[in-house]
Structures are given as C-alpha cells and as structure tokens.
C-alpha cells in the first residue's frame, strides 16, 4: 500500500486526478453540478426521440393494412359463412351453394406443390450452403435462383402450360398446376433454407469435421437439426404464397367448375383463388357477401396451414440446445 501511494499515478492520487479532470470538463456549469446536459446533449436527445418515434410509427403503420383487410373481410364476408358454405358445391350458377370443391382442390394443389418443391429446394440449399465452392457453377446457380424469383407469375403460368400440360402431356391437372407452383416458389424455399443453414455457427461444423465426421454426417447430425425451425419458416412462406396464386393454376390445372372432386393428381380441380377471381369479376348476380366470404376462407386456410407448421416449429425450437 505504501508503495502505491508513493507513486503519483496510482491509487488515491490517480482517483483524485480523475476527479479534477471531470470537474474541469464541466467547469462552465454555474451550479457546479457534474454531468448535466449541455446544449449539444439536449439537441442529440431531441434528435434521438425524433428518430425513435419515427421508427415506432413506421412499424405500427405496418400493422394497419393487415388489420384493415381482416376487418373488412370479417365484416363483409362473415355473413356468407354457414355450414353449407364449406360443405357444398356451388349451385344455381354460383349464386348459391358453397366452396367445398375449391377448398379441397386448393389443398391438393398446395400439398402436391410442397411435396415437389420442399425436397428439391432444401436439397439445393444444402448443396449451396454446405458443399458448393465459390466457382462459376455456383455463381450461375445463384443467378438462376435470383432470376427465377423475379419471373412474374403469369410467365410461370405460360411456362407450366408449355412444359407440363403440353410437353410432358400431364394435361390440365393438379400435377401440372402444382409443379408450376413448385417452380414458382422454389426460390423462396432455397433462399430461406440457405440463410437458415448459414446461421448455424461455423464452429459446430469445424468441431464435427475435426471429430472425423463427413460433410453429410455433419449436416445430418448437427446442421439440419439446428436449422429445421428456420426451414419450416420458408415452407410457411411458400404455403401462403401457393394458396393465393391464381395465374399459374388457371392455365395448368384449375377450372371454374367441375362436378367431381379430384381423385388423383391427373384430374383437374377447382381452386379457391380462381374461384374468387371468377365470382368477383366474371360471374353475374353473385350475392355481394360471397366473394368476401371466399376471400376470408382463403386467408383462414393460410392461417390454419401455417399454424400447424408454426406449432411444429415452436416445438422444435424448444428442443434446440443452444
């Protein structure tokens, strides 16, 4: 202790000199109180509050359209809901009856599209994230994904018509429509899956490799289990998009009306989105609450499909060990 106090730059001496410096820096303050706001501090605080409110307002503004849309649909479409609405076919030139075949048809389309795009998309994402080196091929693939994401849905529809309906001769069918939807949503699955995979810390991979695991063992035992919830997020996004798409299905597999429910993937089917488009724009004398009712059902369908995967996701996240 004696050693320390002898040195002018340690111990109490150091504390004293720090106090002096602090006092110097606020010497302009008439009350002699330390740490009060200067004019510059006040200006900074005002700016800070300004930006804080700006960002808050912007975020809240995002909620408004969602609430407005839902409110409108519930108020105007709610009266159309009844047991028959969900369980019967349209009758009397779409002015009576329900949407049951369209509901079933959309489920078919979504499920078959998922079966095609999720394995393909996840596999591509795994390749790009875990195996691909930065070379010309990888850059080409990335370019293709970006461009695929930018193709308008009507162009996908024409491609689907040419490729699946005519060239592969699937006819207008669930298979052709779902494959078209799958190609359209593939970029979403690939990009979101790849980002999720890359969010898994590199140190886990290093640890696995240094323990003698191959890349696949690393992916299988560590990377995938820790990214499955993020991959599901991509799938949820895809479901939402697939359910609502109209253009890609109207040329490839969806029809305005068919008296039969689809029995297999080579049948044509009704679909919610096309049904909504038609009764809202083409068919005369449809009661006004019916299109809103269909729109509300479409949104509810997305919510139901999503909440299943969200529930699964929450369950998986609970099991995560980091």
């Amino acid at each position: 202790m004696t050693n320390e106090t002898e040195d002018p730059l340690t111990g109490a001496a150091l504390l004293r000199s720090a106090g002096d410096r602090a006092a110097d820096s606020v010497s302009g303050n008439q009350d002699g109180v330390m740490f009060t706001a200067t004019a510059l501090d006040q200006k900074n605080a005002r700016t800070e509050r300004g930006y804080h409110s700006l960002f808050l307002v912007m975020s809240i503004a995002l909620i408004l359209p969602v609430v407005a849309i839902l409110a409108l649909l519930v108020i105007r479409g709610g009266p159309a809901f009844s047991w028959e609405f969900f369980t019967e076919s349209p009758r009397a030139n779409f002015t009576e009856g329900g949407i049951f075949p369209a509901l079933v048809g959309t489920l078919w389309l979504v499920v078959v599209a998922l079966l095609a795009s999720v394995p393909l998309g996840v596999a591509a994402a795994i390749y790009l994230s875990e195996y691909a080196k930065d070379n010309a091929l990888t850059r080409l693939i990335n370019l293709a994904i970006i461009n695929l994401a930018g193709v308008p849905s009507i162009v996908h529809a024409l491609f689907g018509l040419g490729a699946f309906v005519l060239f592969f001769d699937f006819g207008t069918s669930i298979l052709a429509a779902s494959l078209t939807l799958a190609i359209m949503t593939l970029p979403v699955v690939i990009v979101s899956t790849r980002e999720t995979l890359q969010a898994v810390p590199q140190s886990f991979r290093m640890a696995c490799w240094s323990l003698g695991a191959t890349r696949w063992q690393t992916i299988r035992k560590v990377v995938l289990p820790n990214s499955i919830s993020g991959i599901l997020t991509g799938v949820i996004l895809e479901v939402s998009r697939t359910v609502g798409e109209t253009a890609p299905v109207m040329f490839t597999g969806a029809v305005l009306f068919t008296p039969f429910l689809p029995q297999g993937v080579l049948d044509e089917t009704m679909a919610m989105s096309l049904h909504l488009y038609m009764i809202a724009t083409v068919i005369p004398d449809v009661p006004p609450e019916v299109p809103y009712g269909v729109a509300l059902s479409l949104i509810l369908m997305v919510l139901v499909l999503n909440s299943a995967s969200i529930g699964f996701r929450v369950y998986l996240r609970g099991k995560k060990k980091w």
């Binding site: 930065d134 886990f204 290093m206 240094s210 323990l211 003698g212 063992q217 560590v222 060990k321 980091w322």
Partner: protein
C-alpha cells in the same frame, strides 16, 4: 505405446535447430512444409518434430503461422478451397499429405481442441460419444457407450461434476467444463496426437489452470501440440517450445532452456516482450 516408454535422445546442439528427435519417437515430423492461402505464403520451409508423449508449445506473435501449422496437421485447412501446400507432414511415420490418406481416420488419430470451447448442440453424453459412434458406424451397445463415456469423462476430471446431468445440453456447462468436454470427446477414438489452438484463451485464470493441469495429466499417453499466446502458460505447461516468426520456425528448444537461455536473438526479444 512401447516407443514412448523408451528413453529418447534430445541432443542439444549449438547449431540453430536445437532439438533433434530420434525418428522413432517423433509423433509428428514436418519437413520443408510451405503453405499458401491463395497468393499469400503463410508458412516457409517449416521443419518441426513433436516428441512422443510430450507437450510441445508453439509460440509466436499473431499471424506468425502457428495456427495455420496446427491446422495443417489434421488437414482441416483444406476446407478452404484456396489453400496450397508443398512438403511433408509425417504422423507416426506416415506422410499424411499423400493422395491415399483418408481424412476421417486421420482426424480420429489427430484430435483438435479449439480456442473457443465448441461443444456440439447436443447433450453431454452425445457430445462425448459423437466421434465414437461415427467410428463404429452407429453400431454401439448402451453398455459399451456407458463405459466409454465414463472413462473419457473421468480422464478429463469431469465425471463427478456431470454424471448426474449427462442428458443435459453441453452448451449449458461452464466454459471450463465445456473445454474439458471438448477434450473428452476426442479420447474415445484413441487419438495419438492432440492439437490445441489456444485452448485456454477464452477461460478465466482459475479455469486456465485447471485445463493446464489436465493437459499436463494427459501427456505421456498423448502427444500434445499446443498453440499459445500466453508465455507463462508455455513455460508452465510444456516440455518443449517452438518459436515461430513470420511463417518460419526460429527456435525449438526444451522449454526450460528457451526461457532461460534462448539461442536466437529474435526469441529473446519476443520472450522479453520487446515485440509481439
């Protein structure tokens, strides 16, 4: 193991390379090893011998190539596509840079401990048994596993602390326990060499001491090559010391000698803290 019990010759010659290791006792022999990251040459004609059953520390300023050299010995550097090497690295007498060498068994023979403890996001049990299960192709019985698990955790002095929570997440352990676990998970596949890349730099002094004691305990059975920034650690916890500078080996001496009578001026400057 018979070799390591034989007395080996550490001939201290007045010339630059101070330690000449009898080939039969060298766990690792690196000869004329050069390494490039793209156009940048990180290692220049590196020659080192790591004695069987000893702790050898690699010291030198940041960026001198210590970690690069370490990572070349289990060939984990190759994950980066742009790495190119020339020269030889022999592990227990076999050149590991020849085309016939399979990486999986090599990595089992050369365990690696990282700077930041990196237990896998699995349970303690699954972490320790990870490499073991891979090496058996997934065909292990519960009884075997229990035995291997306990032996490995006892070897790293962790069994008593964790035996009641083996199914809990390994990432919930303290950093010291995590690092010990990372050492424990190497042991079931019976490596001959342990590479450690600054294994204590993320730990507090008490944990550092505990891990150092563990390293000291493991020597003999395993040959250990440890990269460290901590001069005091190199001095406390290694038998031999290799000083590197700018991608070259400057001096290789017994630790006691290097810190008392370094043979090279550069070594003396570094040890006394004049740079680095």
């Amino acid at each position: 193991m018979a070799e390591s019990t034989q007395p080996h010759t550490v001939a201290v010659t007045p010339e630059a390379q101070a330690i000449v290791v009898d080939p039969s006792t060298a766990a690792i022999r690196v000869r004329q090893f050069n390494l490039w990251y793209g156009d940048f040459q990180a290692l220049f004609n590196v020659d080192i011998d790591v004695t069987h059953g000893k702790v050898t520390s690699l010291i030198g300023p940041s960026g001198c190539g210590k970690s690069t050299l370490l990572r070349s010995i289990n060939r984990i550097n190759e994950r980066l596509g742009y790495v190119r090497t020339t020269g030889n690295i022999e592990l227990l007498g076999q050149n590991i840079l020849t085309p016939g060498v399979e990486l999986t068994p090599l990595r089992r023979a050369v365990g690696m401990v990282f700077q930041r403890p990196n237990p896998l996001p699995l349970s303690i049990r699954d972490n320790v048994l990870f490499a073991y299960r891979l090496s058996k192709g997934g065909k292990t019985t519960r009884a075997e596993e229990d035995q291997v698990l306990q032996k490995a955790l006892e070897e790293v002095l962790l069994w008593d602390q964790v035996k009641d929570r083996l199914t809990r997440a390994a990432t919930a352990l303290s950093l010291e326990e995590q690092q010990k676990l990372c050492i424990a998970r190497l042991l079931p596949v019976k490596p001959s060499v342990l590479l450690m890349d600054e294994p204590c730099s993320a730990l507090d002094p008490k944990a550092t001491l505990a891990v150092e004691e563990l390293i000291w305990k493991l020597r003999g059975e395993y040959s250990i090559l440890i990269v460290t920034h901590n001069m005091a650690q190199a001095r406390r916890a290694s038998d031999e010391c290799i000083f590197m500078l700018m991608g070259e080996v400057v001096e290789h001496s017994a630790t006691g000698e290097m810190f008392v009578t370094p043979k090279q001026q550069k070594t003396a400057d570094y040890i006394e803290g004049r740079f680095g």
